[in-house]
C-alpha cells in the first residue's frame, strides 16, 4: 500500500471535524427546544361531535412552506387532531409560488386523492375551480364573516371553491425620523412626492452612508413584480392590466408611471433593485439603508422586533397614487380549498371550518403577523397591537386583484409575460417599446382555453 499523503490525512481530518461539529450542533439543537408560541392554538368548537362522526380518518393538508408558517400549520393540525381524532398530515408546499402551483396542478390533473386540503394563492381559484369542492353548502354561513371582496374572489360561477385563510396587501414603509430630519411633516401621497422626498433624503444620508437608497421595492423578474406593477398602474388610473377580458396594459397612464419608475432606477432606487425580492427590500429598509420601502405587512414585525436597527423609527401608510388616481394595494394572501378527489371530504371540511374560524385567524395574526381576512378579527385590540398596519386608515385601502380570473390555468404564463416585460422596462427600455408586446401576448393567452 502506498504511504498515505498529507493531502489524504487533511481530508480525513476535515471529515472528522465535520462529523464532530455536526454532532455538537445537532445535540445543542435537541437540548434547546424551539420556543413554542406562548399563545396556544385555540380549541376546536364542537370537537366531540366531529370526533363521533369522523374520528379516525386521516387527511393530508398541503400547507405553508417550511418556516414560521409551517410551524403554525403543525401547531394547529396537532390541536385539531388531538381534539377530533382526525389525523392531519401537514405537507409544506415549495417556497416558490410557481413550483407550488405546479405541485397542485399535477395532483389535480392526475385526479389524485393524495391531497385533501390545500393552501392556494389568491390568484389560483380560477385555475383550480374545476377540481375543487363547493364549500357554500357547509361553510357558506361562516364565509359571511370574511371580507366580501375576498369571498367574491374565491367564488367562481357561483361555487365557493375556497375559504379565505389570511390576507396580504402592499403598503408603504417610511422612516419617521428621516422625514422629520429633512423637514417633512407627513408621508407622500403621490408618486412624484415620494420621488422628491426620497431624492432629498438620499442626497443627505449618502454623505455618511454610501449604501443609502431613497426607495426600495420588488423589481426582480418574478410574481412579486406583477404585484408591484399592478399597484403603480392601478393607482395612476391605468387600469388593471386586463379589464373585462381584454388586455389593457398598453395605455398612456400606465406607460407614464412605468417610465417614471424607470427613471428612478439608479437615482432614488438602487440599480440592483431589479433583482430585489421581498427579502432584499426588507434587509435594505431594516438595516437603515432606505427611506421608503414597498412591501407586504410581514416586514412590520421584523422591523419592530428586538435587535432591529429601525425599531421605533418607522411607520406604515397606504401606497402613493398617480396624479389622477387613488391609493391601492395588491391583494395577496392564501385560501384553503378542498380537493374534489378527496376521499374524506366531510372531515376535511370540518378542518377548514376550524382553520378559517375567528379564533384561529386571531392566533395566526398574533403568532405569525398574518393579515386576518375576517374584519372583526382585524379590529381586535390584541391583534392591532401586534399588527399596527391593521389600523382602519391603512387596512381599508382599495384592494386590486391580479387578473387571474380571466387567465385561469394560464395565469402563471401570463404573469411571466407581464413581469418579464416590466423588468425589462425597469432595466432601461422605454415603456412604449415594451407594453404593446405585452398586450399582444396577453390577448393571445386570453384566447387560449
Amino acid at each position: 500500500m502506498r504511504p498515505r499523503s498529507l493531502v489524504f490525512w487533511a481530508g480525513v481530518v476535515s471529515l472528522l471535524a465535520l462529523l464532530v461539529s455536526l454532532s455538537i450542533a445537532t445535540a445543542a439543537t435537541n437540548r434547546s427546544s424551539r420556543a413554542t408560541a406562548s399563545y396556544p392554538a385555540p380549541p376546536v368548537p364542537g370537537a366531540a361531535a366531529i370526533k363521533a362522526k369522523y374520528g379516525g380518518q386521516s387527511i393530508t393538508f398541503v400547507g405553508d412552506s417550511v418556516g414560521g408558517g409551517h410551524q403554525r400549520d403543525l401547531a394547529l393540525a396537532k390541536k385539531f387532531s388531538q381534539q377530533t381524532g382526525i389525523k392531519v398530515n401537514v405537507v409544506p408546499h415549495p417556497a416558490a409560488s410557481d413550483a407550488a402551483y405546479s405541485q397542485l396542478a399535477r395532483a389535480f390533473s392526475a385526479k389524485s386523492s393524495s391531497i385533501d386540503v390545500a393552501m392556494i394563492d389568491v390568484v389560483w381559484p380560477g385555475a383550480f375551480a374545476p377540481y375543487l369542492v363547493n364549500l357554500k353548502p357547509k361553510l357558506g354561513a361562516q364565509s359571511k364573516l370574511h371580507a366580501a371582496g375576498i369571498v367574491a374572489n374565491d367564488t367562481i360561477n357561483g361555487k365557493l371553491v375556497a375559504m379565505p385563510w389570511f390576507g396580504d396587501y402592499g403598503i408603504l414603509y417610511y422612516r419617521t425620523d428621516l422625514l422629520k430630519k429633512y423637514g417633512y411633516s407627513k408621508p407622500p401621497t403621490t408618486w412624484s412626492q415620494l420621488f422628491q422626498m426620497a431624492s432629498k433624503i438620499q442626497a443627505g444620508e449618502q454623505k455618511t452612508n454610501a449604501s443609502f437608497a431613497g426607495f426600495v421595492f420588488q423589481g426582480n423578474a418574478y410574481e412579486g413584480l406583477t404585484c408591484n406593477a399592478l399597484e403603480w398602474i392601478a393607482s395612476a388610473g391605468g387600469g388593471h392590466m386586463i379589464d373585462n377580458g381584454k388586455a389593457t396594459i398598453n395605455n398612456a397612464k400606465a406607460a407614464q408611471v412605468l417610465d417614471a419608475m424607470r427613471s428612478q432606477i439608479g437615482k432614488t432606487a438602487p440599480r440592483g433593485v431589479t433583482t430585489y425580492q421581498e427579502d432584499q427590500t426588507e434587509h435594505a429598509f431594516d438595516n437603515g439603508d432606505a427611506a421608503f420601502a414597498r412591501n407586504w405587512p410581514y416586514q412590520y414585525g421584523i422591523g419592530a422586533g428586538a435587535g432591529s436597527k429601525v425599531k421605533g423609527k418607522f411607520s406604515v401608510t397606504v401606497l402613493p397614487h398617480g396624479a389622477s388616481g387613488k391609493p391601492v394595494g395588491t391583494v395577496g394572501g392564501w385560501q384553503l380549498a378542498v380537493s374534489k378527489f378527496s376521499k374524506h371530504k366531510d372531515a376535511t371540511i370540518e378542518f377548514v371550518r376550524y382553520m378559517t374560524s375567528p379564533a384561529v385567524e386571531k392566533f395566526d395574526a398574533i403568532t405569525n403577523s398574518n393579515v386576518p381576512t375576517i374584519p372583526s378579527v382585524a379590529k381586535d385590540k390584541a391583534v392591532v397591537r401586534t399588527n399596527p398596519y391593521l389600523k382602519p386608515a391603512i387596512a381599508s385601502v382599495a384592494r386590486v386583484t391580479r387578473p387571474a380570473k380571466y387567465l385561469k390555468t394560464h395565469y402563471n404564463e401570463a404573469s411571466k409575460v407581464i413581469y418579464q416585460g416590466i423588468n425589462q422596462i425597469l432595466n432601461g427600455t422605454p415603456a412604449k417599446s415594451v407594453l404593446p408586446g405585452i398586450q399582444a401576448k396577453l390577448n393571445q393567452i386570453l384566447k387560449e382555453k
Partner: protein, 299 residues
C-alpha cells in the same frame, strides 16, 4: 548565454523567480478557496451582523445558530438523505451495468462492437435538456405495450435514478472499457483452461483487477449524480423529496416568513454539503484525476 538566461541564473534572479512562482501558487490557492472561506465566515456570523455595511471579514461574535437552523430543518436533513440514496443507487446501478458492458466491449470480439463504443462516446456529450420534455411526460406514466405501463415516477426519487443513468452510464462504460482493454490479452486463458465460465472469469478474475477503475468511475458517478440540478428541479415537486441542490436553491429557514431568505443558514447548509465533498476529494484526489484523464486524454 543570453542576457535573460544570465539574469535568471543569477542568485537575485533565482530568488525573484522563486518568489514570483510561490506568489502565483498562493494566488491560485486563494482563488480556489476564498468562496469557501466566505461561506464559512457567513455561516458563523449572526444575522444582526450579516447585513451590516461595511462588511466584516471575521465576525466579532461568531455563532453556531445558523448550523442549528440548517440541521434542525428536517427538510434539509431529508434532502441530504435523498441525495445520498439517489446518488448511491445511480452509482451502484451504473457500476453493475457498466462493468458487464465493459467486459463485453473490452474482452470480446464481435461485429458491431465499435458501433456500440461510439454510441456510448456520443452519449457522453448528449445534452440533457434535449430530452427534458419527453422525460417529463414519460414520468407522468405512459403506456408501453399491452398491460405494461411505465410507472408514474413524477416527484419520486426514482425518476432521478432513472434519468441520471443517461450521463453516468456512458462515461462509466467508456472508462471501464479502457481499463478492461488494458489488462493482458491472455489473462482469462488460465481460468478457461480450469473450466471457468465467462461469468466466473468476469467476477473472480477481471473485476478485482479493475477495482481502481471501479472506485474511480463510482466516485465520478456519485459526484455527478449528487450535483445534478436540471432534472432534479424539473421532476421533483414536494419539499420532502428534494435533493441537496434543489434544497439549497429553494432554501427556507425553519422560522420566519416565507419571504425571508436566510443567507446565514443557507451558507451553513452550503458548508455542510461541501465539507464532505471536499474531504472526499482530498482523500481520493488521485483516483478522481486518474478517472478524468482516462476518460479525456486516453479517449
Amino acid at each position: 548565454m543570453s542576457r535573460s538566461v544570465r539574469l535568471r541564473r543569477s542568485p537575485v534572479g533565482r530568488v525573484l523567480t522563486r518568489l514570483g512562482f510561490w506568489l502565483l501558487i498562493i494566488a491560485i490557492g486563494i482563488y480556489a478557496l476564498f468562496p469557501f472561506y466566505w461561506a464559512l465566515r457567513s455561516s458563523i456570523t449572526p444575522d444582526t451582523a450579516l447585513f451590516n455595511t461595511p462588511v466584516q471579514y471575521f465576525p466579532s461574535h461568531p455563532t453556531w445558530a445558523h448550523f442549528h437552523d440548517a440541521l434542525s430543518s428536517s427538510y434539509f436533513r431529508r434532502a441530504l438523505l435523498n441525495s445520498t440514496l439517489v446518488a448511491g443507487a445511480v452509482t451502484l446501478l451504473s457500476l453493475a451495468v457498466g462493468s458487464t458492458a465493459a467486459y463485453a466491449l473490452g474482452r470480446f470480439r464481435f461485429h458491431g462492437k465499435s458501433f456500440v463504443l461510439y454510441l456510448m462516446l456520443s452519449m457522453t456529450i448528449f445534452p440533457q435538456i434535449a430530452i427534458l420534455g419527453a422525460l417529463y411526460t414519460m414520468f407522468s406514466g405512459f403506456h408501453i405495450i399491452g398491460p405494461i405501463d411505465f410507472p408514474k415516477l413524477y416527484d419520486s426519487p426514482w425518476a432521478l435514478v432513472f434519468s441520471y443513468m443517461i450521463f453516468t452510464l456512458p462515461f462509466t462504460i467508456w472508462v471501464l472499457t479502457s481499463f478492461m482493454r488494458a489488462l493482458p490479452a491472455d489473462l482469462e486463458e488460465a481460468a478457461y483452461v480450469d473450466g471457468a465460465t465467462p461469468l466466473q472469469v468476469f467476477w473472480k478474475v477481471l473485476l478485482p483487477l479493475i477495482a481502481p477503475g471501479l472506485v474511480t468511475t463510482g466516485l465520478l458517478a456519485f459526484i455527478a449524480a449528487w450535483n445534478e440540478f436540471l432534472f432534479a428541479v424539473s421532476f421533483i415537486q414536494s419539499p420532502s423529496h428534494y435533493t441537496v441542490p434543489v434544497a439549497i436553491f429553494s432554501f427556507t429557514g425553519t422560522s420566519g416568513n416565507a419571504f425571508q431568505f436566510p443567507w446565514g443558514t443557507v451558507m451553513a447548509a452550503t458548508i455542510i454539503v461541501t465539507l464532505p465533498l471536499i474531504a472526499a476529494t482530498l482523500i481520493l484526489q488521485r483516483r478522481i484525476l486518474a478517472g478524468l484523464t482516462a476518460g479525456a486524454v486516453k479517449g
